[in-house]
Symmetry: C2
Subunit: 299 residues, 2 copies
Amino acid sequence: MTVDWIAVDWGTTHMRLWLMTRDGQVLDARNSDRGMGTLAPQNYEAVLLALCEDALGTKPVPVIICGMAGARQGWAEAPYASVPCAPPDAHSALRVPTQDKRLQVHILPGVSQRTPADVMRGEETQIKGLVATQSDFDGVACLPGTHTKWAHLSAGEIVSFQTFMTGEMFALLSQQSVLRHSVSSTGWDESAFAAAVDDAMGRPQAVAAKLFGLRAEALLGGLEGAVARARLSGLLIGIELAASKPYWLGQQVAVIGAAASADAYQAALTAQGVPVLRLDPTEMTLAGLRAAHAELEHQ
Amino acid sequence: MTVDWIAVDWGTTHMRLWLMTRDGQVLDARNSDRGMGTLAPQNYEAVLLALCEDALGTKPVPVIICGMAGARQGWAEAPYASVPCAPPDAHSALRVPTQDKRLQVHILPGVSQRTPADVMRGEETQIKGLVATQSDFDGVACLPGTHTKWAHLSAGEIVSFQTFMTGEMFALLSQQSVLRHSVSSTGWDESAFAAAVDDAMGRPQAVAAKLFGLRAEALLGGLEGAVARARLSGLLIGIELAASKPYWLGQQVAVIGAAASADAYQAALTAQGVPVLRLDPTEMTLAGLRAAHAELEHQ
């Protein structure tokens, strides 16, 4: 096995690592739950080495990292690029010194926006993958997740973006609030979801009024947990779509996210007549890191 | 000390108990953190006895309880009264048998509403206190808390009501979400609060768009934690006021809640030109339980 370089997506709760060949093939994929949230700066190198040392020879290997490892509380702070800008390239990556000289660590910067204030770390690399693989794409990227990002793209640049805490709100409300008694952890109801999206888009304040109703209807009317789950998701995605309308109205939208949440966004956008291009989030991350590696090679 | 009866407000996380004289004076106030959430049905009597046994003589004493002790997961289920209805009186209370025959336990029912589905347990007794003490009041009650309740009152009856999860959302977002890094646990900024209420009332979807902005502005612009706290509260109360407008518009509003949150609601309502009557929540609970005791006496 000849590893030519290493691709890493280092998030808050997890990290994923791919051993790569020169021509961008994946030799092996590995992962760890040692996310940024669990690590002090001096711990990163050991976590990285433990996952890849068996694949290292004697020569130095570039390690290209995106995500929260570059945050202020991460391994080392990789300053943000500011919109409008192309997704940061390898030349602007932060070179982090290591004790093991076989590791040549490069952390890609995140992207920030002054007004309205916003930041991303990791999604810019998925957008880089989108730009690299869909060269004719001109539209809007939607990246559902804990913090969903919407980004206006034009000529390969991020023009503006906006973050919504929809995924985190759904997790908190369904698992930690009083609604946890009424919202099941699995199951779905497509028509309940669609109706809740419509409700919230038409009257965004309905979200505030209807959340406790999920609990009350379960107590009084035996509302099913799966229906409550779909309705809660629909209310939260609906108010997000009401607020993100300047992003998606009249645009083609590339939805880049894990299956369950991307399915929900796709359904809601399709119902609004928005053409959706679904892209795999891991493939986009890898494509973005591959593009960064190519930039490094041509340095 | 001659205890004539005992008043109890038994909530999800706490219980409060007052030793009362025949004429409604408080001899002593006691409390416990053994709320409904921590208790199985067979544990309630012991918790109650531990707090009041020193005050019991040989004769039976009425114990009048409101709140979550009457929930399905509580001591014993006291069925809901349905709106439109007066706050439930002592004759509809659930008589719960006890091993210690000196305790005559009565649990007051909650109130439910079929459409839109809603429930309350405890607040109906504060409303009973409002009706008992402000006989000329005809308007709307707003009871800020973990789950804020709005109730239309007319001729001593609850005509309709609506619950908002604003308090719980504020706690989850400020303490458990990514915003915990940016929102301080104390401090306030009145103008930031007022501006956020206006924002959210004018464009309710702004709430979805602006939450993560609190984090981003702290990272990029050094937003102060106290300002972020007031702004988060303003966004959540603002979307609640947008949704509860049919309750408060053109009405007098009695705000019954703990100081900090009642202050915020009062400020937001006053800015909308709504006349506010502030009432102490403990006094209203006690007044409601006193009224129930009087009903029991005249049984």
